[in-house]
């Protein structure tokens, strides 16, 4: 028996392997538990792709955007709020990147210890947003059926107070022709986070920054606009014949000829670097969503291409959220908090479970350049646009009218920020094929910022 019993000891290896198996199961649970348990096929918490268990989502004023009642997910009573907050909340299977998806584990109160108990017994947790749902609704209405995106945030704290993407739809009465009607093209995308648009003249801010850093006497120089700029291998047309201009006047009036000339003076490499430093090509994490990267690729440009790229045409693209951040950074001396729209996770009794505020900062321009750009954008409003759109707000801004080719109307852009200490907000507005930046996006920005300023 001694031989058998000593041979039997090899079975300890089997017991050991068995325990290794159990440890691997435990490891899988610890590492991927949230992801696997929160699968939309989990009938404890989902029904037909809808998160039916746990969790309310509230706006900054405590307005309930969505909650579960009697095993059914309900949304806000107002259709305008439902439309304005659709992309923020998301719709499982259709709109990715919503709070209901990204914060499903927190909403359900899922964890490895109690499983789905919190959801079953206490109705889950609350996720509070920094968004003002009413302001979002106003922004969506200001878009007036046009497609695009609006975002406003506090550049000192990083809180996004307004974020909408258009077109949207009412999740409660989903249009039957949503997949065929061109009016709903792009309705499943949160364009503020995931959109990539030709920047047009808003990009002159990048070119201006590059010029300020690389051409020492830029403010002393005089430029001349004859209605176009001859690059040697082609021409870049201007929107007007501006005649003699200072650098600042050229920015204020958005002179293509001068900025095409400046782009060629600084060169492709420096312009591309400036764009990269200003975050145009970066992706930022905004409450668990990663913004789309813009693109500035000047590696094979002719002088004319470079000229067009310097005024935000050619192959340039930017992301609306990134433009908002850039405005915030300029306002804030070059550095900005990374924006966020989820404030935190709270128990139904109101106790803070998880703080989701983002306190990280990002430097997009150096301090000197920031003050130059601040001055340029401010004088654009005071000397050119006028204060009509933003009374008392000490607003600085730049518009863009981005040609998109063919018969299509250009994209309409505006981004900017208030210089008031007590109103530290920056915004970006993009309207697809919205025509003139000033009359299209400017009007929307005006409505949203005035509403925010009045409610301050």
């Amino acid at each position: 028996m001694n031989t058998i019993s000593s041979r039997a000891k090899i079975l300890y290896a089997l017991a050991g392997l068995f325990l290794v198996g159990a440890i691997l199961v435990a490891l899988t649970f610890v590492l991927h538990g949230d992801e696997y348990a929160m699968n939309s096929r989990n009938r404890h918490i989902y029904s037909g792709n809808v998160l039916i268990s746990g969790g309310r989502v509230l706006d900054k004023n405590g307005k309930v955007l969505t909650e579960v009642k009697n095993g059914e997910r309900r949304y806000n009573d107002s259709a305008r709020i439902r439309r304005a907050t659709l992309h923020v909340l998301g719709e499982s299977g259709y709109i990715a990147g919503g709070v209901l998806e990204k914060y499903s584990a927190e909403l359900v109160g899922y964890n490895l210890i109690t499983g789905v108990f919190t959801a079953k017994e206490k109705g889950g947790n609350d996720v509070r947003l920094t968004l003002d749902a009413e302001l979002c609704a106003e922004a969506y209405e200001a878009m007036d059926g046009r497609k695009g995106a609006v975002g406003v945030y506090n550049y000192k704290t990083g809180e996004i107070v307004c974020m909408i993407s258009a077109p949207s739809y009412d999740v409660k009465n989903k249009p039957s022709d949503i997949d065929t009607n061109p009016a709903y093209d792009g309705a499943y995308l949160n364009k503020f986070i995931y959109g990539q648009y030709v920047p047009g003249s808003t990009f002159k801010t990048v070119t201006a920054a590059c010029a300020a850093e690389n051409i020492p006497d830029i403010f002393a120089r005089k430029f001349y606009c004859s209605g176009q700029y001859d690059t040697g291998d082609g021409v870049v047309k201007c929107n007007d014949v501006h005649g003699e201009l200072t650098f600042e006047q050229a920015y204020n009036r958005s002179c293509n000829a001068v900025f095409a000339q400046i782009a060629n003076e600084v060169g492709a490499k420096k312009l591309e670097n400036a764009a990269a430093r200003m975050g145009v090509k970066s992706s930022f994490e905004i409450s668990r969503l990663n913004t789309a990267r813009g693109s500035v690729d000047l590696s094979k440009t002719s002088h004319t291409d470079l000229g067009w790229a310097g005024i935000g045409q050619y192959t340039d693209t930017v992301n609306p959220c990134n433009m908002m951040m850039l405005a915030g950074a300029i306002a804030n001396g070059g550095e900005t908090r990374i924006p966020y729209f989820v404030d935190g996770v709270y128990s139904t009794e109101g106790a803070l479970i998880k703080d989701e505020k983002n306190t990280q900062t990002q430097t997009l321009v150096n301090t000197t350049t920031a003050s130059v750009l601040k001055q340029l954008m401010r004088s654009t409003v005071t000397d050119y646009y006028g204060e009509r759109y933003f009374p008392d707000m000490k607003m600085a801004a730049k518009t863009g009218t981005a040609e998109v080719g063919g018969e299509l109307s250009p994209h309409s852009w505006m981004f900017g920020f208030s210089l008031r200490e007590d109103f530290p907000y920056a915004f970006s507005v993009i309207i697809e094929n919205g025509g003139s930046g000033y009359y299209g996006a400017g009007e929307v920005a005006s409505q949203v910022m005035r509403s925010l300023f009045d409610g301050k």
Partner: protein, 441 residues
Amino acid sequence: MIFLAKTSVAPSRSMKDNRIPSDLTVRDGKLRERTGKWFFLMLALTIIELMLFASLVPHLEKEYLAQTILLLIAYIAVEWGYYSVVGIAMQRRMEIELAGFMLSSISIAITASVFPEKLLMQLATTVVGVGAFAFLVWFIGSVNRVTYSRIFAAVGAVGLLGATLLLARITNGAKNWLAYGSVSVQPSEFVKIAFIFVGAATLDRIQNAKSIMKYVIFSMICVGLLFLTFDFGTALIFFATFLIIAFLRSGDIKTIVLVCAAALLGGIGIILYKPYVATRFANYRHVWDYVDAGGFQQTRAIMYSLSGGLFGVGLGNGKLRYIKYATEDLAFGVVCEELGMITAAAILIAYVLLLIYAIRGARYARSSFYAIAACSAAGLLVFQASLSAFGAMDILPFTGVTLPFISRGGSSMISSWGLLAFLKALDIRTYPKVLRELYHS
């Protein structure tokens, strides 16, 4: 045969000197063991079972309420009945049975909760299992009986597997069920007992190469027949058990490696000739990529196990139970979800403890038959449990084998209890007559 019987039954000198367990006392001139602790352990078992059963009752549909409560009480009565006879009247130890009762009560509870209409069947097969256990314990008590009957067991095993191959219809990709009227059985489950019986009994003649060859041929026939029925999980269990028995017998790690290499080649050959075999396991470690296709069962088992957390959502509140064959193939997931990960871990530990019990007890075995039988039975249980539990969790390929004692199903339950008999027989105190002879000689 005579030679074999002699060497295996007669206690050796060393056994007399060292191997009488120390917690025995002599009372009234007889060898006695303290038996009071079994009463308290039975009481603890009953309390745990009552708590378990009570938790499922509120979720029962009215039409099954009375019947279910009655059957659950009947189960506890069966346990106390067994204890009265074996524990009190016969003064035997109870640890193995306690483990079996505890584990079985979980499948009783799950069946009562998920399929109240099938509870009677589950209970009946558990009672049959306990009966088979008692019978086997008695039967293998005499090595003579073991020796003379092993040829019948071998023929029976091959016959049963052959009949399955010929008569069974394909269900869920495998031909492993024999149906007669409304009763269907899985013959391979019973063959597990015969397989160990034959393996352990044959091996008493350790140096005889011919008898090894006979056993190898027998094993390969069994594994081959199982392969032909496409029941790869069970084939794998038999193969692993064969390796354990072959090693315990020969101690020859080189041969084992050789056999494994041959099996690997065979496996590769099968995959080359019958590529669809491999496609059955194509989802392994990628179940989330096939979440609504080949990974359906595993992904559900994982997500619902996680939903249960450490303490479970409670019997009757689970969702995994609505997946087809969950209480059989995904029993581990059902336990995780409804009873919690702590209970699930305790079950896994129970299997390991049975194995450790066999390994440690092998020293005290009265002959190599008992040592090999107990170790290979425990090894089989652990191997099968890992295929079942870790297969459902996508740590191992998913083969759909049952979780011993826990999965619903009569064949599996009877087989689990039958295998437990080999562990019970390992303990020399199970046979006081033998022990007394040992003590007095």
